[in-house]
Symmetry: C2
Subunit: 370 residues, 2 copies
């Protein structure tokens, strides 16, 4: 199946949109009401560069929710079960965010820019509305907005070479999720060691949307000696690496899940601070978790992608959902992720996946696959 | 420019997805994290059917936010500036929804199913998160969820003939936005006289997602004698008719606007009830509205669509934004909508639009165009 995407004013264009079009983008998806590139015509080469070289991704659709004001940190701490104590300026942290039922509604990276200024680099849901509602209803002294900030990611083993070319040796000292504000000529940004892959790299959070094409060209030129090419967040690598995709692996409205089920139990700090969903998560914890995130290998089928979630079954009984599936050359099999009853994770004999091609046996596997 | 859309598990499929694929859908967009058809290969014929015959649209992406419980009505009234007094079971109403700053975050149709059960049929933002946050923070006795409800629209002058064939003569008695719950064979739904066009018609809110293909086929068969065909919400007709598109004409994060600016002043009831944004809207009203929604005709250019908002200028001065633009055969010109300073609406001489093709003179026009 192949369909066109409608390009209209109802979906936003990234500051890098024109540059990705000039560089031959072939497909888009929509994320946070913004077009995000899918691929540039050669997915195998794009995957290979991510693993062995360096790629550049327009991930402007990973929007920022900015909290500014004396209560910025207080609001951030109310929003997440994760204890933010000790987080310093210039550090980032992955933070699950739950609603009052303890179910996840987003899983951003939090960046502390100042004591009174925080960014939440959000997955695909309107966390802006959520944070603004909580701030106003609790009378907190904080302004919630979505500022002009658009990340461009460079990922892969040679990403550091590109970053050193652009920003100098100081980038080598950045620890994971750490960042600093900087200028590249006259292009303002926040440079972070982060990105949605396990291959290492950086995210350049452009803070002036008028300079998207200029930044894209600068990165492309600096990356040229290292064979950089355009690409996009990669489904195969993310499943091999066990990365979560809010929207695919869970979504509040469609596939609700709590942080325990998604494997984030260590980030839920029930006893240190007050946060939204705390009472519900305590009840869930006390009752015992009955589902959990799983990885699996499909046996006897060579499936390259899943277009919608399908059920995992044991005989007649539905035991879970497969939420994504790819063919991995490195594993040499079709591998997937999903959520399943803990019964299954203890005794997975006879587990099958209901693919459009038919039912196939499934073997559970530890995450990450690689 | 033509691009493919990535079909993956991170975006939901409508219950009518398979049926639209079987009927030859050619393009999609994404709305409320769900694929929504763009066109079926012959936009002119689809427009013609909407105006002179009857079309069927998969608008399942117009998701429902359901409020259930003793405080359902109280929550609905807190969410909207519009006074809901007198709204009866079986009636619907268009309701602007604002944040605490008085800026619009959605503009759903509200359906009152029971005293303790309300649907908000939402535009493209996660109003579910907003409503859930407000309900929980205020301690209201109401459950907020997104249930299994997926509208299929039939629109056009012959839509009534199709509805009579399916449901009998009682559909003729439905007033605009009125609805009733019913079964079509074993397919459960809410049938409403409504839809996002000015050509008249109905929306069939399917309440069992497993029966999407069955409902699509039933409507297709009943519509066959009247020349029904598949289509999608139509940008040309909506601009000719002056319909608002949240996401295109305004969006909280990208193009913020209040209800006065969007022409919904009569729906803002500052003195009858408490609601979110009331204080801000009173201040805005007292200060005087300085921008307003406008329609315009582009002179000397034949432009068939706008792919991103562009500025309206008077000399060097930016006076507003054009948020959508189409070529209308009925008007015989390129017509658009946008938002502009009230200065401009009083004295529009020398107004130009900054199109990719160059600057062109613009003449303001009353909405609707037709």
């Amino acid at each position: 199946m192949s369909f066109q995407i409608h390009i209209g004013t109802n979906v936003r264009q990234s500051p890098f949109f024109d540059a990705t079009v000039a560089d031959g983008v072939k497909s888009f998806s929509v994320y946070n009401h913004m077009y995000i590139p899918g691929h540039f015509g050669d997915p195998d080469a794009e995957y290979d560069r991510l693993l062995n070289g360096v790629v550049m991704w327009d991930v402007a659709a990973q929007r920022q929710v900015e909290l500014i004001g004396p209560d910025a940190e207080a609001l951030a701490q109310i929003l997440t079960p994760r204890d933010l104590t000790g987080l310093k300026i210039g550090q980032g942290r992955y933070v699950p965010i739950c609603d009052h039922d303890g179910l996840m509604i987003n899983d951003p990276v939090l960046l502390k820019l100042a004591d009174d200024r925080i960014w939440l680099s959000v997955a695909d849901s309107d966390l802006h509305l959520w944070a603004a509602a909580i701030a106003a209803e609790r009378g907190l002294n904080v302004t919630v907005s979505e500022p002009d900030v658009s990340p461009l990611a460079i990922q892969g083993p040679k990403a550091t070479d590109v970053a050193v070319t652009l920003f100098g040796n100081r980038v080598k000292e950045l620890r994971p999720f750490a960042f600093f504000e900087t200028l590249l000529d006259d292009i303002p940004m926040v440079l972070a060691r982060s990105g949605w892959s396990k291959q290492g790299g950086f995210e350049l959070y452009l803070t002036d949307g008028r300079k998207g094409t200029a930044l894209w060209q600068r990165v492309k030129e600096a990356g040229s000696p290292f064979g950089i090419g355009p690409g996009a967040p990669n489904d195969i690598e993310r499943i091999e690496s066990g990365l979560i995709s809010y929207g695919a692996d869970m979504r509040r409205q469609a596939l609700p899940a709590d942080p325990f089920e998604m494997g984030f139990g260590k980030m839920v700090s029930l006893d240190t601070h007050d946060f939204i969903g705390r009472a519900a998560l305590r009840r869930r914890f006390d009752a015992g978790v009955t589902r959990q995130r799983v990885g699996f290998v499909v046996e006897g089928a060579c499936v390259s992608s899943l277009q919608r979630p399908v059920v995992l079954e044991q005989g007649e009984r539905v035991m879970g959902m497969a939420t994504d599936l790819v063919y991995s050359n490195r594993v040499g099999a079709s591998i997937g992720v999903g959520i399943a009853e803990t019964d299954v994770t203890e005794q997975s004999e006879g587990l099958t996946i209901a693919l459009p091609q038919g039912d196939f046996p499934v073997r559970l596997a530890n995450l990450p696959f690689i």
